[in-house]
């Protein structure tokens, strides 16, 4: 293998990881249809490629060539830029996810993540929180009442669930004593008893619930809510901009699943195999991440949808107090030396 300068290795690494993220997001659009089909006595897409595996590509081509409509009275600039604003933050957030430990790449020793930040968990939350702007602006600029209602719901929902999400992560941060996702993952080690899912089960539960709300996924998909709002914020979108919203949603789901894996399931660590090679760690990471992605789909196609005020009540009156309690309980247990 030829030796390459470090910056080039980083570029290659970033390209591979972003390519993988977009592929996973594309495959999720297929998985969504396949899983729903299995749950609904159907077959799902099976015409394009083996098992319909090339369906996302066919969809992409279709979306590219569709006519794009900007509704009359819409704010054209915001209307056009909103889908990008929705998709970009989720893609940015994946930069700090530690997929596996150190690898040797073209003669350079490096880690399998785009970059390593000492405050990477803060970075994910900060960047991920921006995703809502795309939805709010997209809904507002569409000049449609349904879209406006959808984006208003999305903003209210974001405020109520981000808090509990951050508080549940804070408990984990307290346990590992670091904001660095890599340190958090490494601190849990290969012993399953030390994983945060076992040490902070309540935080895990809260995180999973908030993760659904954070990504606007069913049963919290009020911004979309097709029976009453006909699609909510994206009612007026067509062609590739419409697809971008979904790409953003699937990327956000993937990032949240990665985050859950790192925070609670020790990243790529494998029980009883402390010094697993990087490829085994990567495979283990992907398996754990896929489990969370499947959970997204499983819930999506099983449960009815909450009503908006019920969601707010759940967020403010149940999850937030629980998250606060969890944080204090974790701190108290740590002070007592139990954890």
């Amino acid at each position: 293998m030829p030796e390459l300068p470090l910056w080039l290795v980083w570029v290659i690494k970033a390209a591979v990881i972003y390519g993988a993220l977009l592929s996973v997001a594309g495959l999720m659009s297929l998985a969504e249809r396949k899983v729903s089909a299995w749950m609904q006595y159907r077959i799902g897409p099976n015409r394009v490629g083996p098992f319909g595996l090339l369906q996302p590509l066919a969809d992409g081509v279709k979306f590219m060539f569709k006519e794009e409509l900007v509704p009359a009275g819409a704010n054209p600039f915001l209307f056009r830029i909103a889908p990008a604003l929705a998709a970009l933050p989720a893609m940015l957030a994946v930069a700090v996810i530690p997929f596996a430990g150190e690898i040797e790449l073209f003669g350079q020793r490096t880690t399998l993540s785009v970059t390593d930040l000492p405050i990477s968990s803060l970075y994910v939350l900060a960047v991920g929180g921006l995703g809502i702007y795309g939805i709010i602006l997209g809904g507002w600029s569409s000049n449609s009442k349904y879209s406006l209602l959808g984006s208003l719901r999305a903003s209210a929902q974001m405020v109520s669930y981000e808090l509990s999400l951050i508080l549940s992560i804070l408990a984990v941060v307290a346990l590992s004593g670091s904001l660095d996702l890599r340190v958090i993952a490494d601190a849990q080690q290969a012993d399953a008893a030390l994983w945060n899912i076992a040490r902070a089960p309540l935080a895990f539960l809260l995180f999973v619930v908030c993760m659904f709300a954070e990504t606007n996924r069913h049963p919290f998909d009020f911004a979309e809510s097709e029976p009453e709002l006909v699609g909510g914020f994206h009612t007026e979108y067509s062609a590739m901009r419409f697809a971008l919203f979904f790409l953003g949603e699937y990327c956000a789901m993937t990032v949240m699943s990665c985050l859950a894996t790192v925070l609670f399931l020790a990243g790529g660590a494998i029980p009883f195999w402390p010094d697993a090679p990087w490829w085994a760690e990567l495979a283990s990471f992907l398996v754990k991440m896929s489990a969370f992605l499947f959970l997204y789909l499983w819930v999506r196609w099983t449960l009815p949808r909450f009503r908006f005020d019920q969601l707010m009540r759940l967020g403010w009156k149940v999850l937030l107090p629980l998250a606060l309690f969890n944080l204090f309980a974790t701190a108290a247990l740590m002070a007592a030396g139990v954890l």
Partner: protein, 424 residues
């Protein structure tokens, strides 16, 4: 029901009297410069949750419905007038297209009105076949209610679970009547023809299997906390309101009124079947859901009894022998001059005696009544259809006032109407 007159709910007065029953947030900010400005939203006629082409104009204060007005007529095809120009017998296919999720029920309702006017007695086996098909249709219609309401409240897979069983019903009805939908199987004086035992066996096997499916639906929904929260306390119609707004069927029974035409004024021999009438206590969407679930179970019971009677009366006539209204058997038409004349007269010039008649049946949506008036010629004087769906649509403002916008879909779903019947 004489008690109907004692309540003075003028339709215009109700919204104010109903007031705000919402648990959700209502705007209480008098200093807000935008306070009082409402968002006027036209929901439909193209809207995923209005079950066809209903249009509801809603005025929203935030997410709260301040006023709402259903508008019907987008599917008006002039069915009643069609009857007057087509003649009595040729209107049967049009009744299929009224409430198109239960064509056989409409067929029977119309046939019963004509038979009442003409004084025709349907042979017993014909009545049993009608009861059997009506109950199976009721199950199919309630399955549509369940699937579409679930999909409106976000439980998409439920829709496929119910439509899978509905598909089985339609396959059996296909074998039974020759059509999946729009069966036109019922004739004046009975049903078109008898069927072989294989179809009855398939039906009996399906009926044996179906209660387990209902259990599965209930596992999905009845105890589901989200489903409960979305339906309990939503769209509450008190018993008095239900009577004043002349609701019928599951919507009336959900409000606690023990009223079912199959028990109160039995037709087609319903008095001889054993079944129970489920009744709700609160009158909300959840009660109406439970009532319909239980009605499906009762319909299975009735259909099984009907199947047993079919086995007992095998070989008997299903169509009355009345040459004035009923076509003679085809074999006889080819060999007998008189029968040929009868056939010609029935097809071209079917006259009902002078007079008028009204007959109502308990359809899956409520009291489905046909009023027919004849001047003794082959052209009907008047055919009016009392479709329960229209009353159900009228009840939307009654219960939507002050609720959240999301409740609108639960209310529309739980009132259960089909626009083909509402607009006619």
């Amino acid at each position: 029901m004489s008690s109907v007159q004692t309540f003075d709910y003028a339709p215009g007065a109700l919204p104010a009297a109903q007031g705000s029953t919402s648990e959700g947030p209502t705007s209480e900010l008098p200093d807000d410069p935008l306070h009082g400005e409402l968002l006027r939203l036209s929901m439909g006629p193209q809207h995923p949750a209005t079950h066809g082409v209903l249009r509801v104009v809603v005025e929203l204060d935030g997410e709260t419905i301040q006023s709402c007005e259903p508008m019907v007529g987008f599917l008006h095809r002039g069915k009643e007038k069609s009857c007057e120009s087509l003649g009595w017998a040729k209107f049967f296919p049009h009744t299929d297209r009224l409430d198109y999720v239960q064509p056989l029920m409409n067929n029977v309702g119309y046939a019963l009105a004509l038979e009442t006017l003409a004084g025709i007695a349907v042979p017993e086996r014909g009545q049993v076949v009608r009861v059997l098909l009506m109950e199976v249709s009721r199950i199919a219609a309630h399955l549509i209610y369940l699937g579409t309401t679930a999909i409106d409240l976000g439980a998409v897979s439920m829709f496929f679970a119910t439509f899978k069983e509905r598909e089985n019903i339609y396959s059996i009805l296909d074998a039974y009547t020759g059509h999946r939908m729009n069966n036109t199987y019922v004739r004046i004086g009975g049903v078109y023809c008898d069927v072989d035992e294989n179809v009855e066996r398939a039906l009996s096997e399906w009926l044996g299997r179906f209660p387990a499916c209902i259990d599965e639906y209930e596992k999905f929904l009845t105890g589901n906390r989200i489903w409960y929260d979305r339906n309990r306390g939503v769209g509450v119609i008190t018993r008095e309101q239900a009577l004043a707004w002349s609701l019928s069927g599951p919507n009336l029974r959900g409000s606690g009124m023990d009223w079912d035409l199959r028990k109160r004024s039995p037709y087609s021999g319903y008095e001889s079947y054993e079944f129970e009438i489920p009744v709700g206590t609160v009158g909300d969407a959840y009660d109406r859901y439970l009532v319909r679930i239980e009605e499906m179970r009762q319909s299975v019971k009735i259909a099984q009894q009907a199947l047993a009677r079919l086995a007992a009366t095998r070989g008997a006539e299903v169509l009355a022998e009345d040459r004035r209204y009923v076509l003679p058997p085809k074999a006889k038409v080819h060999s007998s001059m008189e029968e040929l004349i009868f056939q010609f007269k029935v097809v071209t010039d079917l006259c009902l005696p002078r007079g008028e008649a009204y007959h109502a049946i308990e359809s899956s949506k409520g009291e489905l009544g046909f009023y027919v008036a004849s001047d003794g010629t082959s052209k009907p004087l008047r055919c009016h259809i009392r479709a329960p769906g229209l009353q159900n649509v009228q009840a939307i403002p009654l219960v939507a006032q002050g609720r959240l916008f999301s409740d609108m879909v639960a209310i529309i779903g739980s009132l259960d109407f089909v626009m083909g019947e509402v607009d006619r």
